[in-house]
């Protein structure tokens, strides 16, 4: 189904960015810039909701909504269109990206008040929305990569927004370069996809004259590759999946490419909320779920995804325990939650991953915006050691952040509980498809459960340090007077204006009730109300089940997705209920432990190893960055550049100069010298003729 409104979703923010960049910089009116930026995203949001929920909309029909804008590249059989497609998956993504993006835009109008580059900030933010929506709605890998690079660029621009601060510039470069490593894998993955399947499209759009054969449909009839290390380099589905995962790991901050995300907190807080928590960093998850058909035939790749995801989750959670910067805690928390999503993808629970992406977008955006509100109220203080007792001063921020805290900790009825519990359950019950044995799924579940416990502890620590306890901001402020631009006297925290609190309240409501879109069968008292699963089921491959049933004919598998509906056996339900009980206990135990540890002693010294992030940055510096710098400086610069390239050019130049210096003696300006040269030339000519003989014209 073709609908040209779809392109409005991406072009409205682009128009907003252009208006703010060209007109906003001249108008210099915050109201104008803010209205344009928020209005552009609001248009996207409305169109996205309309196209998703109208009677034959993307979330209701089996066929995607297409918008073929133009044929971009066509070389031989290679064809990449500038075409958008909104199916159930990309529709779901577009909904929360636009909606959460809109709320964050509104919040940012309040947060960025009085900033020098107000128009610049919103132009970049709108450009980010354009890129992100292009990424999500793209109908082929190549256009998706355009969006992928676009969000990387906007991330770079926005992390480096305070470009007069050195650490912001460094963080921006770090983010960009680290992402480049991931993009290398993504590009190779796209190339290999085309090489193997002969197409880069996701969906066949008959209206645009596309072949029915697409990159994803190719894999429907593809045999499941063996679960061996050799499959990774065999050049088939597993190789593609691993390469794509490298790209996803860069964008979604997984081990070993996660190091850029904590540093990215140098950007303004709304940027951290929008890009580095809610939307951009989940692009990797989106990409893997989009390619679930490929991953579903590559068990070895899924195993890698699961292990990396679980390792990232627990690794980042332990670091998060010991951070003192409120935004750093949330950054490591984001990495940890992204690890959960990848773990879910790795065990074949793609829908659970998307569910967690959505609830995470709500509560993590809420927590980041809440921290932004705190930072704003504290006059740009981010160190939690200089906070404390803020609940009295910022009641709305406090109340909303409590819901975010309970949601991320996994307390029942809050959104995070359902999605996290779903992931834990799917991990526990994962088939041996992508794992060496079913015992391995218990091990992964254990890692995830410990992570959940740690999550509850560090979030409690953050809340306690910020909102409870004694007020530590007064006494510690004496030494801050050295900063000359402190535009306030004795610091007095204040609640933020309504443009900041209203988005907080909306997100708090969503963090509370957002989980009810995915209530599992076991917890819904016998009613089948798992909306998210029913919505996404037709578009996501069921890796675990197809793997065990690989011998089945693929025709039945693809024609009857409704019949393969997982039946809810009674022992499964009771196991799921027991596990849900365990995760509730874990969450409450974590909160209790955090409360017990930090309520009295909020400044409790955490292990140095954790506070210094396992010295990963230092290790990278010593093992990678420093050698590269040395080789570049001593080898490429001093020998190759200065010695060879410059040397070659300089020697050419010098030889010409030298020859000219000699020739200059001929041009002394003495008339008699010239006469002598003419004579010499004439004599040489005559001598030549005399020696060789005159040519005879008659012959």
């Amino acid at each position: 189904m073709e609908n040209n409104l779809l392109s409005l979703i991406i072009f409205a923010p682009l128009a907003g960015a252009a208006i703010n960049w060209f007109a906003g910089r001249r108008v210099r009116n915050e109201r104008f810039v803010g209205v344009v930026a928020c209005g552009a995203v609001a248009v996207s949001t409305l169109v996205a909701f309309y196209l998703a929920f109208k009677p034959d909309g993307a979330l209701r029909s089996e066929t995607p909504v297409f918008d073929h804008i133009w044929t971009w590249l066509q070389v031989g059989t290679f064809r990449a269109d500038f075409a958008l497609a909104m199916d159930r998956l990309s529709g779901t993504y577009a909904l929360f990206v636009t909606f959460v993006g809109f709320l964050i835009h509104v919040f940012a109008v309040g947060y960025m008040r009085g900033e020098q580059g107000f128009y610049r900030f919103f132009a970049f933010l709108n450009l980010f929305m354009f890129s992100m929506l292009t990424l999500v709605l793209a109908d082929n890998f190549v256009l998706m990569f355009v969006g992928w690079e676009g969000v990387g660029l906007c991330s770079y621009l926005l992390i480096g927004y305070y470009f007069d601060r050195r650490e912001a510039g460094d963080a921006a470069k770090k983010a960009f370069i680290t992402n480049r490593i991931g993009d290398w894998g993504f590009v190779l993955g796209i190339m290999l996809t085309f090489f193997v399947t002969g197409s880069v499209s996701f969906f066949a759009n008959p209206a645009a004259g596309e072949a029915t054969h697409t990159a994803l449909s190719f894999f429907k009839t593809y045999p499941v590759e063996p679960f061996t290390a050799g499959a990774i380099v065999a050049g088939g589905a597993t190789s593609i999946a691993v390469l794509l995962f490298i790209g996803a790991a860069g964008k979604s901050a997984q081990i070993p490419l996660y190091v850029w995300l904590p540093d990215a907190m140098a950007g303004p807080t709304p940027v951290s909320a929008l890009i580095h928590a809610a939307t951009m960093v989940t692009a990797g998850v989106y990409m893997i779920v989009r390619c679930s058909e490929i991953f579903g035939h590559a068990p070895a790749a899924m195993f890698i995804v699961a292990v990396i995801g679980a390792a990232t989750a627990i690794f980042a959670a332990t670091i998060g325990l010991a951070q003192n910067d409120i935004k750093k805690v949330l950054a490591y928390s984001t990495i940890s939650q992204l690890g959960y999503m990848f773990l879910a993808c790795g065990v074949g629970a793609f829908i659970a991953a998307i569910f967690h992406v959505i609830t995470h977008a709500f509560f993590k955006a809420l927590l980041f915006l809440g921290s932004g509100s705190v930072i704003n109220g504290m006059h740009h203080e981010q160190d939690m050691r200089r906070m404390g007792g803020l609940k009295k001063y910022m009641p709305i921020t406090f109340a909303t952040m409590v819901t975010g805290w309970l949601a991320i900790s996994g307390v029942p009825i809050f959104a995070g509980f359902f999605s996290k519990d779903e992931i834990l359950w799917r991990t526990w019950s994962a088939p041996a498809f992508s794992l060496p044995s079913t015992a391995f799924s218990k091990l992964l579940w254990g890692v995830a459960a410990i992570t959940a416990f740690l999550t509850a502890i560090y979030m409690t620590r953050m809340m306690v340090m910020t909102f409870w306890g004694e007020e530590r901001f007064r006494d510690t402020h004496a030494h801050k007077q050295q900063e000359p631009d402190e535009h306030h006297g004795p610091v007095e925290p204040h609640e933020s204006p309504w443009v900041m609190t209203v988005p907080l309240i909306v997100l708090a409501v969503l963090s509370t009730i957002g989980g009810f879109i995915g209530v599992p069968y076991a917890l819904s008292a016998g009613k089948d109300i798992n909306v998210i699963e029913h919505t996404l089921e037709p578009v996501v491959a069921k890796a675990g089940t197809t793997g065990s049933a690989a011998a089945e004919t693929h025709a039945t598998e693809s024609t009857a997705p409704a019949e393969t509906h997982t039946t809810h056996s009674s022992e499964e339900i009771s196991a799921e209920r027991a596990l849900a009980g365990v995760s509730v206990l874990i969450a409450l135990a974590g909160i209790g432990a955090g409360w017990y540890l930090f309520k009295r002693r909020p400044l409790l010294q955490m292990p140095r190893l954790l506070e210094n992030k396992y010295y990963v940055d230092e290790i990278y510096d010593a093992t990678l960055i420093h050698p590269i710098e040395s080789v570049s400086r001593e080898g490429f610069w001093k020998i190759l550049d200065v010695g060879v390239i410059d040397g070659l050019l300089h020697s050419i130049g010098e030889s010409v100069t030298e020859a000219g210096r000699l020739a200059r003696y001929l041009q002394a300006g003495f008339v008699r010298g010239y006469a002598a040269i003419i004579l010499l030339g004439a004599l040489i000519l005559i001598g030549l003729f005399a020696y060789l003989g005159f040519p005879n014209p008659t012959q």
């Binding site: 300006g669 003495f670 008339v671 008699r672 006469a675 004579l679």
Partner: protein
């Protein structure tokens, strides 16, 4: 004894060599100018000698052309010499070694 062609050619070569030598060794621009005229006339002598030897009138016609050009050249050259002299009060060519007056 009848004058031979070689005699004319020898005389012409001697005159031409004197002219060349004069141009190279003389500093006075007037003297150089005279030496150039000498070279032109040495060539004229070869022209008429060959014209007479081959009984061909074209050589003599060439002499007229050379004389015409020499006259024009003399007018221009003397004009330049006078201009230089007015500016520098010197006719030494070695002093006129830069491209301005």
């Amino acid at each position: 004894m009848e004058p031979q062609l070689s005699w004319y050619l020898a005389l012409s070569a001697v005159l031409f060599t004197i002219g060349v030598t004069g141009v190279i060794i003389k500093r006075n621009v007037i003297a150089m100018f005279m030496c150039i005229e000498l070279m032109l006339n040495a060539v004229n002598l070869t022209f008429v000698a060959f014209a007479s030897f081959f009984q061909d009138v074209i050589g003599q016609l060439f002499v007229f052309i050379v004389m015409t050009v020499a006259a024009a050249e003399a007018a221009v050259g003397l004009g330049i010499i006078i201009a230089i002299f007015r500016n520098r009060e010197s006719l030494d060519v070695d002093e006129a070694s830069i491209l301005k007056l």
